[in-house]
């Protein structure tokens, strides 16, 4: 087997990002869309940690900030989801049109 380099990790991160993007674009359930966004943020973290193997520890510190950002985004997003569910009694993404009219 060939030696594992940084490129392998970048390919894995890119594949996870694409899977998360498919989940965000095609699913209708808002909860699964939020989970796909978390998966995309985590794959970006994987890229940054892989680059910190080449350029020093700064990538790991930056991925720590991205993790804090993901926590904040999940808290606010799930709060919005609860408020939306209280108004419309559904978690379907196609019904989210309060700002359209």
């Amino acid at each position: 087997m060939l030696e594992i380099g940084i490129m392998h990790y970048l390919v894995v991160g890119g594949l996870l990002f694409l899977i998360g993007m498919v989940g965000v674009i095609t699913r209708r359930n808002v909860v699964i869309i939020f989970m796909s966004i978390e998966l995309m943020l985590s794959s970006v973290n994987l890229n940054l940690v892989a680059f910190s193997r080449l350029y020093g520890l700064h990538g790991q510190v930056f991925s720590l900030f991205i993790a804090a950002d993901a926590a904040a985004e999940a808290a606010v997003g799930l709060g919005i989801l609860i408020a939306f569910f209280r108004n419309r009694a559904t978690v379907n993404m196609d019904e989210v049109d309060l700002l359209k009219w």
Binding site: M7, G23, R27, L39, L64, A70, A72, A75
Partner: protein, 173 residues
């Protein structure tokens, strides 16, 4: 540096991560999706360990798999998921979405193929014994604390997020 990171572990962990991510976006029930996402994030923590980043692996387990996924499961208990099986899983524009994702995949493939030559061949000798200490020095150190101001901004962001989540969930908006 002796190679702890053998190719078998890399392919094993990344295969688990990608397969459980695919399971996550194809399940109808969001509880099953959350469990698959936990498996994917734990495999990602294993990949961090292979990259000599034990602190980020611990953060991944504690924060993502322990904190955010518990919050997701808690919210799923609050919302109603009974009528999921009779509705459609995909929305109306899923074909266009898949086409856009395929175009982004081509773009990323081109970027990776072009950028592969520009990467430095030499890896940095990362200290895995005092990894947490080095990250702490980058965050808080008197002379080496390059990230002290961004750290304060991150704490402000978390405060705003807490207030926003409480306001959103508390009263009728």
């Amino acid at each position: 540096m002796t190679a702890v990171a053998t190719p078998f572990f890399f392919y094993f962990l990344s295969g688990i991560a990608i397969l459980s991510a695919i399971v996550m976006i194809t399940k109808v029930n969001p509880v099953h999706s959350a469990l698959a996402l936990i498996v994917s994030l734990l495999a990602g923590a294993g990949l961090y360990l292979m990259l000599y980043a034990p602190f980020m692996a611990a953060v991944q387990i504690v924060l993502y798999a322990g904190g955010i996924l518990v919050m997701f499961l808690f919210v799923m208990m609050l919302v109603n998921i009974e009528d999921l099986y009779v509705e459609k899983m995909l929305n109306k524009q899923w074909k266009v979405g898949l086409a856009a994702t395929a175009m982004l995949a081509l773009l990323m493939l081109g970027g990776l193929l072009r950028g592969a030559k520009t990467l430095p061949q030499q890896v940095v000798n990362l200290p895995e014994q005092n990894n947490v200490q080095q990250i702490g020095l980058l965050l808080y150190g008197r002379d080496t604390g390059y990230y002290m101001f961004p750290f304060e901004i991150a704490s402000l962001l978390l405060l705003v997020a807490v207030v926003g989540a409480v306001v959103m969930a508390k009263r009728r908006v």
